[in-house]
Amino acid sequence: MTATTTTTTKALSFDGIGMTFPDGTEALRDVSFSVDRGEFVTVVGPSGCGKSTLLKIASGLLENTEGQVSVDRERIGYVFQDATLLHWRTIQRNVELFAELHGIGKEERRDLAKKAIDMVGLSGFENHYPKSLSGGMKMRASLARTLTLQPPVFLFDEPFGAVDEITREHLNEETQRLFQREGFAGLFITHSISEAVFMSTRVLVMSARPGRIVAEFEVPFEYPRKPGLRFDAAFAELSGQVSAELRGAHS
């Protein structure tokens, strides 16, 4: 029921996780899997199956009622469904926020923020306020903010669900590049099968509530993955298999 700091290669592991809310709703049942550094695992599942609950448990925002989580929460990265930028701060100061909360000095956090802003392609927008940016740009700023901590574990809770299809594809490609470059352990939640297969090393399918892992797919495609991969026959076949499992999970 508690999180422990692990020294093994498993950056994040869930062991028999169960979650029942105080109102009696059972959200998760016996969920076990792990994510190593250099692995990008995506969980797909029907709405309300407990995917986001799983991330909240990993980050410590919620406490599981069954099982054990192993993760170092000191520098955990968490990207929410919304960009959650502070409206009153410029992009530069938003990106500096986490470093600021961790007590990193002004000069150092400015450098960290600058590098992260460069990394997500937002250079030139440092002095803009969130209200003047598009949804995709806000999400990039949110990614940059998390990158300043160089997190060994990166949690993504449907971060690109609210942006248009083309922007989403671009953001998928950028996230994939960041993953390759930083080598973090990524745990990604999405409703999009294409997004899951395109970015991940592994795709897990969750059942309807109470959420359980009902299928697991290794994704064999080499990184870096080109946009054209989405039209590849092998990609379509794997997506079809995930889709079939997901349909089963709905019933």
Binding site: T84, H87, F98, G135
Partner: protein, 298 residues
């Protein structure tokens, strides 16, 4: 190709950057034209309305009231001549206005301090909010007339009592708006601060207080106007100490000096509007860059 290179070549820039502020793309001439149009749209409606109001005023003074009863509503030009252009009369009104402004600002300042303190306290624990809030509502619901005798028992009939009236009248909007603002930060933002183990003070300073600023300013604008009313009402009731606009209103009314009375009313209203505009300007300077402040129409 790195992300940055891609951005530079435009491969990924256009669909994402396309959402940046479109106003920067407008040509200068179009901007100038639209500014003029905007100015016309802002200034013309109140001017037309003012014209209709003055015409209606004349209609009542000359069309409805006969010579003997015209003291009930003197025509605008007579108010201008006696109330504003006669320096003795106008300087008396100005002196009263200065005295009332002082009272209003002292009362507002104290209200802001008490209001911020109580709202911050209530934002930190639901139990504190439950304990304090009903009494704030009760205080707000008491008609000021009903407690005037009590106020004069405790603080006399001078400046202090007038300040107390100001505080009672202007405190509630500050508390309610500040509390609402402090509680307005989104759940996701709070989660961010929780994830990074932010202390209570850090959360208050870096999240709750900045998020509350738009609501705080909305409260301040309301309370600033109310504090002017409080200063005038207090002065009107207590009638001792420095002569404020309230005492003058009473004097002019008792002597049926319609011109000075209306001039004093107009100046009181002008004071309220000025205070409202000043706080609007401060609000715009403080948060206008990041918050879409609604147009007050003034």
């Amino acid at each position: 190709m790195t992300t940055q290179q891609a951005a530079e070549t435009g491969a990924i820039e256009s669909p994402l950057v396309g959402g940046a502020d479109p106003s920067t793309m407008n040509a200068g001439s179009i901007r100038l034209k639209s500014r003029r149009r905007l100015a016309a749209e802002t200034i013309l409606p109140p001017m037309v309305m003012g014209g209709i109001f003055i015409s209606f005023w004349y209609l009542i003074s000359y069309g409805v009231l006969d010579e003997r009863r015209r003291f009930l509503l003197r025509p605008p030009h007579q108010v201008l001549k006696v109330g504003f252009l006669d320096w003795d009369n106008f300087s008396e009104i100005l002196d009263g206005l200065v005295s009332s402004t002082k009272v209003a600002m002292i009362g507002l300042g104290i209200s802001i301090m008490i209001g911020f303190f109580l709202a911050t306290l209530m934002s930190q624990a639901k139990v504190v909010e439950r304990a304090i809030f009903p009494f704030m509502v009760t205080l707000q619901a008491i008609p000021i007339l009903a407690i005037v005798p009590l106020i004069s028992f405790w603080w006399g009939t001078g400046q202090r009592s007038r300040v107390v009236v100001c505080i009672i009248i202007s405190l509630f909007p500050i508390i309610v708006n500040t509390l609402f603002g402090l509680q307005s930060a989104e759940r996701g933002m709070h989660d961010l601060f929780t994830l990074h183990q932010a202390s209570r003070v850090t959360r208050l300073r870096k999240l709750m207080f900045p998020a509350a600023l738009p609501a705080i300013f909305a409260g301040l604008r309301i309370s600033a106007g109310l504090s002017v009313i409080g200063a005038i009402v207090g002065d009107f009731f207590f009638g001792l100490g420095d002569v404020g606009i309230g005492q003058l209103l009473r004097k002019y009314a008792n002597n049926l000096w319609g011109e000075q009375l209306l001039a004093a009313v107009i100046m009181s209203s002008a004071l309220g509007v000025t205070v409202f505009l000043i706080f609007g300007w401060i609000q715009n300077a403080a948060i206008g860059k990041w918050h879409d402040t609604s147009d007050s129409g003034i």
